[in-house]
């Protein structure tokens, strides 16, 4: 919870993309290659299974809203998923396939018939989703939503 709030506080809500919709998601700010785990933490892991990423998530993390209260809406689940999977999503999207991308489609609510199209569209417009190495997960969510909205067949999945 502390981490979520801290990250949210650090993130910069962008207004550069006119199609962006900051009302969806949690305003989370993870970027590609954000955490530097490095060698030290391999040693830590050996005796305590502790890791540098915040272990203190408590029993209710992720089951209650962006700030730890309230219901988990689909856009919140998406926001959390994208925020925790930036690299694997980028990697999968560049290939148009992969478990993270498939999971994203499933969490988004895309039906089995439309999934292939969703993943294809994502790959074809990769550089409009991952605009740079510093793009935040909130912006990735918004960019994906814009893609979905502007595609005739996928528009029904637009988040609101």
């Amino acid at each position: 919870m502390k981490k979520l709030i801290a990250v949210a506080a650090l993130s910069i809500l962008p207004f550069t993309n006119a199609m962006a919709d900051p009302d969806i998601g949690c305003g989370l700010g993870s970027v590609l290659l954000a955490e530097k785990e490095g060698q030290l933490f391999k040693v830590l892991g050996a005796t305590t299974n502790a890791s540098s990423s915040n272990q203190v998530f408590g029993i209710t993390f992720g089951t209650l809203g962006c700030d730890g209260t309230g219901p988990v809406t689909s856009s919140v689940k998406l926001a959390l998923f994208i925020d925790g999977n930036m690299e694997s999503l980028a990697r999968d999207m560049s290939k148009g396939q992969g478990e993270s991308l498939s999971t994203l489609a499933a969490v988004w609510g895309v039906s089995a018939e439309d999934k292939a199209l969703f993943m294809e569209v994502a790959q074809a417009n990769f550089s409009e989703v991952f605009t740079s190495e510093d793009v935040t997960s909130q912006v990735v969510l918004e960019n994906l939503n814009a893609l979905v909205t502007n595609n005739a067949k996928l528009a029904e999945y637009k988040l609101s």
């Binding site: 955490e35 030290l40 391999k42 305590t48 299974n49 999977n85 999971t103």
Partner: protein, 617 residues
């Protein structure tokens, strides 16, 4: 009518305001029921009869709840009956202990009604539990510190397909280390129970990222044979442990042990922890679940490093070289390569740079732009990945040998002496033990002990290796790995009239080539400190080398040749050496026959042939 109502009210009042206990069990019997003891994490103790492993006093309702299961039972029943509590306070207690409530409701006469807890319900709805999966991240060859593995759980929901495994919730038990402690302090505190350990819930993808990607461990996922009701009970108990902490002991009360303590609450007569008294190694806890018939066939997730190596094997030297250059910068030039070849090179370059970013701690402002460029270039090639994924290993961790080993041997010396030997190794695995479920080319051994008895009935300690570890990752086109070993303890070396005691500490560093799954060779430069009878109790330095070869002839047979030659500094003996030729036949999962020929030289030469029967448990 009024009188009857008054009488009824009077008795109702009595039953709510005083302790009324009515059950098929006496209070003493119920307090000693194994399920009640499991719920309180009680184990036999020395000072009191019982002691709970929960170290957080707020977990207990009774003042002496930690040491007295009966007092805790009494306090719990009282609270559920509402003694000295108003309706809301009573409801709060019930909702804090849903597993206790569910259990006692069937054992004690009551009129408590059903569980009706809003927060608990919200939590359950979000998790939507249907099954539990045991997750076992093992080790990647180049990372021996992770050798013992780890275990965690994943709660699978009702509508979960393979596509939603990542967003299921994982349950993890770990120590909460102080971020300002240094690695040595971490190790000591982890061993001595100085950190609190807690359960935490988080999306499974966080753990996949941590273990699969960042620490490059293969992950095995075993679905457990629990019914949805049993799964719900486990989660009720997890809810009870929400804030509870346990002193974290790396050796025995660790992640694996606590997960078993949690799981055994799922079923009334399930005992998963009583066999773990002194130590709990993750692979042993996997075996405990297997032996109770709780494990289904596992799924496999290859580690990042495993994938990287597998992809590299699918590229020619030229293409691999182009990928190598791309990790340093630049773009993929036009050429007569097919789009599929280009896709492969770009994917390889990305994976390689990504791996090195974490493994070698590269700078983000150098690596991140190039990684993004590689991804963009790849996304323009509209084809799926040309790479084959790593194959699932034939043997899974639950098929490996037990972590401790005993051996019975017969030894014959060239001078016609005979010996019987008895050996015991506390843990874990050597280079000749059957490889199934262990990472190849790595040995780690603690407390490897051997005693001998000769023809005249003399019993002596032959060997006591406190630690004997060796890591031999082979060099290949993408991993430039160093092999090392460290050994410390006591053994016997050839002296003029007998085998004399030798105390030592030795370490080596070098290289390994070949393939750990078939034929591999290694060479280490070595340094050692020697003492004991063999050096007349003087400290003697040794410098030299240790080298050898290992050949996995077939699935169950392995040959090993190992040699060390050490030059002794400032000693009346110029050098000492030992060569072993071993053949290990693992005829069963937990049994092996090993023949060994040994040649030793120190003050004198000695030759020995030995046949050992090993049993793992």
């Amino acid at each position: 009518m009024n009188k009857k109502n008054t009488v009824i009210s009077f008795f109702l009042f009595l039953s709510f305001s005083s302790f009324s206990f009515s059950s098929q069990y006496s209070l003493d019997e119920l307090a000693q029921q194994s399920y009640w003891l499991k719920l309180g994490h009680y184990r036999s103790a020395i000072i009191s009869d019982w002691k709970s492993e929960v170290d957080d006093s707020s977990f207990f309702l009774a003042d002496d709840g930690k040491r007295d299961p009966k007092a805790e039972l009494l306090a719990t029943i009282n609270a559920f009956n509402g003694k000295d509590l108003d309706a809301k306070a009573r409801q709060d207690v019930i909702c804090r202990y849903p597993a206790r409530f569910q259990y006692l409701k069937n054992k004690v006469d009551n009129n408590w009604g059903e569980l009706d807890c809003i927060e608990l319900k919200k939590w359950q709805l979000a998790i939507d539990p249907d099954a539990i999966t045991l997750v076992f991240p093992t080790a990647f060859m180049n990372n021996p510190s992770s050798m013992f593995g780890h275990t965690l759980l994943r709660i699978d929901s009702k509508d979960q397909t393979r596509n939603k495994d990542l967003v299921a919730f994982s349950v993890n038990f770990a120590a909460e280390a102080d971020p300002s402690d240094n690695p040595a302090t971490y190790a000591i505190k982890g061993l001595t129970g100085s950190y609190p350990g807690r359960f935490a819930l988080m999306p499974y993808y966080k753990k996949v990222r941590e273990y699969n990607d960042l620490e490059s461990r293969d992950i095995w996922e075993y679905k457990l044979n629990f019914t949805p009701k049993e799964v719900e009970t486990v989660l009720f108990h997890l809810w009870e442990l929400k804030t509870a902490y346990f002193d974290y002991y790396f050796i025995d009360e660790n992640c694996s042990y606590q997960l078993l303590a949690l799981l055994q609450v799922g079923r009334e007569n399930l005992d998963l922890t009583s066999m773990f008294n002194l130590h709990a190694i993750p692979s042993d806890t996997v075996a405990a679940l297997r032996d109770k018939g709780l494990l289904q066939d596992p799924k496999y997730r290859a580690a990042f490093g495993t994938k990287l190596f597998t992809y590299s094997e699918q590229l020619s030297d030229d293409d691999l070289e182009v990928a190598r250059m791309l990790t340093k910068g630049g773009v993929l030039e036009q050429s007569d390569r097919t789009p599929i070849e280009n896709a492969a090179i770009l994917e390889m370059a990305y994976e390689w740079l990504n791996f090195e970013y974490y493994d070698k701690a590269l700078k983000r402002d150098v690596a991140a732009p190039q990684l993004t460029k590689l991804l963009i270039a790849r996304s323009k090639i509209r084809t799926t990945s040309p790479f084959l994924q790593p194959e699932r290993p034939i043997a899974s961790p639950d098929e490996g040998h037990g972590s401790s080993r005993v051996g019975l041997s017969v030894s014959h010396f060239k001078d016609n002496q005979e010996q019987f030997n008895f050996s015991y190794r506390f843990s874990y695995h050597d280079l000749l033990d059957q490889y199934s479920g262990f990472i190849p080319g790595a040995k780690i051994s603690f407390l490897d002990t051997e005693a001998s008895i000769n023809e005249t009935g003399t019993v002596r300690l032959n060997r006591f290796y406190f630690i004997d570890a060796m890591s031999l990752p082979v060099d290949n086109r993408i991993f430039d790995s160093w092999s090392w070993n460290f050994r410390m303890g006591f053994d016997r070396q050839a002296d003029i009239l007998k085998q004399s005691g030798h105390e030592f500490m030795q370490t080596g560093y070098g290289k390994s080539i070949g393939n750990a799954n078939s034929l591999q060779a290694y060479f280490l430069g070595s340094f050692e400190l020697n003492g004991g009878d063999i050096t007349n109790n003087h400290l003697k330095l040794g410098v030299g080398s240790e080298f050898g070869a290992l050949w996995q002839i077939s699935q169950r047979n392995k040959l090993g040749l190992s040699s060390k030659v050490m030059r002794l500094i400032d000693s009346d003996v110029e050098y000492h050496a030992q060569t072993d030729l071993d053949w290990n036949w693992a005829f069963d999962q937990n049994w092996a026959l090993r023949s060994t020929l040994t040649h030793q030289k120190w003050h004198k030469e000695s030759n020995r042939a030995k046949l050992t029967l090993f049993h793992y448990f």
